[in-house]
């Protein structure tokens, strides 16, 4: 990645975190944002859009996932068969993962999940603060409603922070073009003022669709001085700027500043498949593979996360099979194993004994599993705890 690209991403990620801090007048005081859970388990869920098994964990796809298949697989509990038995749309799938219940909602996130989310269970039951619960998403098929359910006894007061970093970049590109500055998109450093302007103008983040609420959490203002170098260290590759790259940078910054106990990241570069470019879709898979590896490495070196973190990586679903009436890899709505059957990898603390669990599992099994890892074990939901983990 060239210097200007790095600078842009660095500056943009920094801007984001500074905006959150400024907006809610966090006092940067050298302490983590909440006391609950800072020495406890950390869970990161990485959901990475629609990826077919044939393009990933099958002979025909292993070249696209060198880090997952060669470097991470030996350290993982790997589930080759995880079924999405719900609606294979993004909002419904992420909602189902987070609630442990198959959600059948408006695909565009107009309504909240109808069962409590993991965030709500954990915040209500064990007192996690809002800074401990984040959704950072590339995918604007989600909305901020993903952070909390419509359940009366739960709801937004127990919800997660939800941000869409990629949308910031999109808005910046559109703004630059609308104002007659297409050169800004060509000269990446020139885009910085557009990014700043959007962040400052977006009233209560509505223009970006975010939901970020502050409380009395304290952050270390001095950390800001180390941010530039920290982000510089995180940007290691030469790939083009993409939504997922930026989502990753923001996620890493959130991890450094807030060290959330439960973080859900959704990548979506692979969704370029909807427009019919298979090569760009495969590029998105390779980006995801590399970013997960970077995340894994970061977890090993970040003292807030090292030794206490479990990462779950899974596609939300597959994509339609070649020859389907839904145009194959373009879409994810066929009723077929190519679309509904995918894989999941568990890394870290709960995967101390590497294994391959061939017993079929489901996306809704994540919620009770993660809740159980935090000691919340009596959830009355369809999902069942995952086998094979060291909990």
């Amino acid at each position: 990645m060239d210097a200007s690209r790095r600078n842009l991403l660095k500056a943009a990620a920094l801007l984001l975190v500074d905006q959150w801090a400024g907006k809610y007048e966090y006092a940067f005081a050298g302490q983590p944002s909440s006391t609950a859970g800072k020495n406890e388990r950390k869970i990161i869920i990485v959901a990475c859009g629609g990826i077919r098994r044939t393009d990933s964990f099958q002979d025909t796809g292993l070249a696209n996932i060198p880090h997952l298949s060669r470097e991470l697989m030996p350290h993982s509990v790997f589930y080759p068969y995880i079924r999405n038995a719900g609606a294979t749309s993004h909002y419904n799938t992420i909602s189902s993962i987070l609630t442990g219940t198959w959600q059948r909602l408006d695909d565009w996130g107009k309504t909240e999940p109808t069962s409590p989310t993991l965030f709500e269970y954990l915040r209500k039951r064990i007192g996690l603060s809002q800074d401990d619960a984040w959704v950072i998403s590339s995918n604007k098929a989600l909305t901020s409603r993903i952070g909390a359910s419509s359940m009366r006894d739960f709801g937004p007061r127990y919800g997660a922070n939800v941000v869409f970093p990629k949308q910031l970049l999109i808005n910046a590109v559109i703004k630059a073009a609308a104002e007659g500055h297409p050169d800004h998109s060509a000269d990446r450093t020139a885009m910085q003022p557009d990014l700043e302007a959007i962040l400052r103008q977006a009233d209560n983040y509505e223009g970006l669709g975010w939901s970020v609420s502050g409380d009395e959490s304290a952050l270390d203002l001095r950390m800001e001085h180390t941010m530039h170098q920290a982000i510089e260290n995180l940007v290691r590759t030469n790939v083009p700027i993409s939504g997922d790259e930026f989502t990753m940078l923001v996620s890493e910054e959130v991890m450094r500043r807030f060290a959330p106990s439960l973080l859900a990241i959704t990548f979506s570069d692979v969704e370029v498949a909807h427009f019919g470019s298979y090569s760009m879709h495969l590029g998105g898979i390779r980006t995801m593979d590399r970013l997960v590896f970077e995340l894994w490495n970061m977890v090993q070196t970040n003292p807030d996360y090292s030794g206490r973190t479990t990462i779950f990586v899974l596609p939300e679903f597959g994509r339609d099979f070649d020859g389907s009436t839904t145009n194959g890899f373009f879409n994810h709505r066929a009723i077929n194993d190519s679309t509904s059957l995918t894989w999941m990898m568990c890394l870290g603390e709960a995967a101390r004994s590497a294994d391959v669990i061939e017993r079929p599992i489901q996306h809704v099994d994540l919620c009770p599993t993660i809740a159980g890892m935090f000691g919340v074990k009596d959830l009355d939901i369809p999902g069942k705890p995952l086998p094979g983990l060291s909990i």
Partner: protein, 429 residues
Amino acid sequence: MIGTAMNERPDITQKQAPGTDAYRRLIGKLPVTMRPALNQQFTEWEMLFPYERNRVVTFMKGVETYSPSALDSLTAPLWALEDKMGVKHWDFTQAVDTIENASQLARSAYYAEWRREVQRVVDAISAAARDVTPAPVESTRLMLIVLPANLPVDPQSVWKQWDPKGHEIKITGSTEKLCQLVIQGQPGLDGIATLAARQGAQDSSDLWLIDSEAKLHGMLSQQAPIAAFSLSFSNLKPLRDKFLAELNKAPKDIEATDQIIANLRSEAWGGWGLWPPEVDSQPRLKRFLIDLILSGNGVLIFSNSFVEWTAAEVLRRARPRTIVARFGMRIKPKPFTSIAIFENQQKVSSLPDVDDPENSAIDAAILARYSWLAASRYPEQDHTICVCVAEHVDSAYVILPEGKSLGWAPDHAVAPEELYGWLGKQFIA
């Protein structure tokens, strides 16, 4: 949706709108979720291709064969399923297929069961229709797919995933010439338009030229006995740009999207001077193109997506005797292109366009195969010769109907003239 499931034979001629009122009353006796697609077709009768008209009329003839009690009996499980799904409480439009309709169906817990039930009902009605309509006389069809010379496809893998019943052949000489020969003919053998006319083709929907660039249309003689429907991604740029701008105004909301789609479909696009001459005087082609753009992701963005989805929709809706689909080059993603991919790239970035041959070849190779897979869903495939030419590697993949065989040994390299000579004979045989 129902249109996809129906599979009637195409060769009943219907030149005039049938008894629409009677058919609409009959549609009203079918389960609710079957009605939108059928109603839509009668509403848009003038814009349908001959195959579509035949199909919907044939289907309704099939419905007519059922007595009221037999129809009730056939559809009872689907009615019961609609009750379980709660369809009557949905905002379900019966007049036309909508995204909202599709979305409500797809998120129902009974979606898979619903699809199976609809297919069962459609299959039964289609079978009944076949018993009361004459069997068509089938003739050989041709599908020529071109991966042009500037796309460096991988010779080791380009045919690897194609239908194993096909044959890889080597072409000697100027491989690029084949496309021209097929359209223009050669001494002693007419071009494909003339051959199609000899087979009985009368309508332009029987011959399609689909082009990533703007090369095919100019190859077809003005004197050809039937005019082709010709669509070029390049020539459509003014329309694409305008459409993209309009679509990007749409909020991310299903109901609003349905409204915007309805507005865009009814928009008088002719007033903008956006149509290329080969499309401008063709109302059905214009409507087809609007529907194509509104139904196909990427059609406005990538030329290869345009070619593939156009071919798929042409095959589904028109079942042509001949289709020539030529893929092409796309530009390299610019900074932010993958982030704001649905924006007009020339507007959002001042960087010059740069070709991306390697990745264009990857895209075109899989989409060429998808084009054949689209064709292979329909019974007409049993009579279709598919030739996909990879000009860069002087190679082609040929899929033949049952009972036909190559006229030469597979290891023998054929010249384009020889290949077209053989194709022409098969076509008119």
